[in-house]
Amino acid sequence: MTNSQNLICVTCPRGCSLTISYDDQDQITITGNQCKRGAAYAKAELSDPRRMIASTVRIRGGIHKMLPISTNAPFPKGKIMNLMAFLKSVEISAPVKMGDILIENVLNTGIAMVASRNMEKID
């Protein structure tokens, strides 16, 4: 008997439909992926699902009130709402450069929050 499960790979816009089949020995085979990253995604999705998280934080002295930021690696799905609650308490000061690390090791995940763009200081 084999069992199977379907997933859509979210790693890139192609969005391949993956099929994960288990045989008697619980060995898994992944099909439907158009590249290697699809198989890695399927394995992670079953054991430790993660997502890239992009959001904004308040910024003082910039052209806009909000600065777009992002995780520098996929973030554990179960802790996303904790991350969002934490980000509400953060305020950054301009100037900022794209790629600047704004928060290191956020919520002890080993993941950093980085600035998605430059924002000059304006008077």
Binding site: I8, V10, A54, I63, P68, S70, S116, R117
Partner: protein
């Protein structure tokens, strides 16, 4: 309105298309390039698209929208491209006079030798889809809400219903959920998803937001502010079935019901338009029916990958440079690209066979309805099939592309047209 300033190439719009075109014109030897935008800073709509998913093709990295834009802004700066921001383009003529207006200079005329139009697209609004009911506050396009949340830090409401399963709507469903709002459901009139499948997974499924296909919003309820919407099922002919009506309380309705190329200026110039794409009819150099008027990006047709927007912008900029350097023959031979059902449209609509000597030509198409089985996209000359490509499935929300290689030069030169077909693969 007096002063006339002269530039070689003027680009309208500083999104990824306009910036790529400007940089490319400059790199191809044009001296003075000016980019004009009504926004206060360059970058276009991507500045408010804070989510990642941009640039995999171009940079091999999954970048947030603002980072993708930033790379092009930095390149434009290093190429010493002139930027005229906070300035509205009011009019353009077929002899390249651009009328602009802003607070400091008032109204001014600028003379160019070639023009690239890169005004992007805008969202369809309530007026264009005609939802009956009252006119309370709390009905916005998804893009307006995106700007409020991501740039201005304002929440448009607490309890949402989203009409339309396009990417912007789904991305906003996730964004609002992350910010603590409730998104009741996404309602889609068609029997299939309008955006990318990955956005269904990571924006709706991840946040337990139900998607209602074959449903629409029949009425908006509420006096001052939206209080509820009436959601109904539709039949195969998209006819409302009143007995299925359900009242869903909410304080905000977001519309994500499609994008339209922003072509008021283009029409004014008198460029020939494609009624299906809503953009100009172009050849593979992205020249319109008026010599020296080029177009780039979402103003041509709504792309789903920004990488292709930048690539095609680069092409437009390169040929705009050729145009003013006089190594250009506006009477060069063009042959039509014809699509057969279920292909809905193709861009470019014409190709210049002799450009195949320099580079391959990419054709981008959309289908009218989803085909959830393997299909073969084939390209024919007037003689025979010359190439094909297999897709595991094709969907209206995901562009289909096929590339004519340089090696097809002789075959294409000998043909009066190229024709594209999609057939089920047995």
């Amino acid at each position: 309105m007096l002063t006339v300033h002269a530039y070689d190439v003027i680009v309208i719009g500083s999104g990824p298309a306009g910036l790529a075109a400007a940089v490319s014109a400059k790199k191809n030897g044009v001296n003075s390039v000016l980019v004009i935008d009504r926004d206060v800073e360059p970058g276009g709509i991507l500045l408010q698209c804070v989510h990642s998913g941009f640039g995999l093709e171009t940079f091999g990295e999954d970048l947030p929208g603002p980072s993708y834009a930033q790379r092009y802004i930095l390149e434009a700066e290093s190429q010493k491209i002139n930027l005229l921001m906070d300035t509205m383009v009011l009019d353009i003529t077929s002899d390249f006079v651009v009328t602009v207006s802003n607070e400091t200079i008032g109204v001014q005329r600028l003379q160019a030798k070639a023009i690239v139009l890169a005004m992007g697209c805008r969202e369809r609004s309530r007026a264009q889809i005609r939802i009956p009911g009252t006119r309370p506050a709390g009905v916005y396009t998804a893009g307006t809400a995106q700007r409020w949340v991501n740039v201005e830090g304002l929440m448009p409401g607490k309890n949402f219903v989203i009409l339309g399963s396009g990417d912007i709507g789904m991305i906003m469903a996730r964004r609002l959920s992350l910010e603590g709002a409730r998104v009741n459901r996404v309602v889609e009139i068609m029997p299939y998803l309008n955006g990318l499948s990955r956005n269904y997974v990571q924006c709706l499924q991840d946040y337990d937001i139900p998607l209602f296909l074959n449903h629409t919003i029949n009425k908006i309820l509420g006096k001052k502010r939206v209080e509820a919407v009436e959601v109904v099922r539709v039949d195969q002919n998209r006819k409302v079935q009143p007995e299925t009506a359900e009242i869903i309380p909410c304080d905000t309705l977001l519309l994500s019901v499609g994008l339209i190329p922003e072509n008021e200026l283009t029409r004014k110039i008198g460029v020939s338009m494609d009624p299906i794409t809503g953009g100009a009819i172009v050849d593979n150099c992205f020249e319109t029916s008026i010599p020296g008027i080029f177009v780039a990006g979402n103003v041509v047709h709504v792309y789903d990958l920004v990488d292709y927007v930048s690539q095609d912008g680069t092409t437009a900029g390169k040929y705009a440079a050729s145009f003013i350097q006089c190594n250009w023959n506006s009477n060069r031979r063009k042959i039509p690209v014809i699509v057969e059902e279920p292909l809905r449209y193709v861009v470019p609509q014409k190709i210049c066979p002799d450009t195949l000597r320099e580079s391959a030509i990419r054709l981008l198409m959309r289908v009218s309805y989803p085909m959830e089985y393997p299909v073969q996209v084939s390209l024919f000359t007037d003689q025979k099939e010359i190439l094909n490509k297999t897709y595991p499935y094709v969907r209206p929300g995901e562009m289909v592309s096929i590339q004519i290689p340089k090696s097809a030069y002789d075959l294409i030169m000998a043909s009066q047209e190229v024709r594209l077909k999609v057939l089920r693969k047995e």
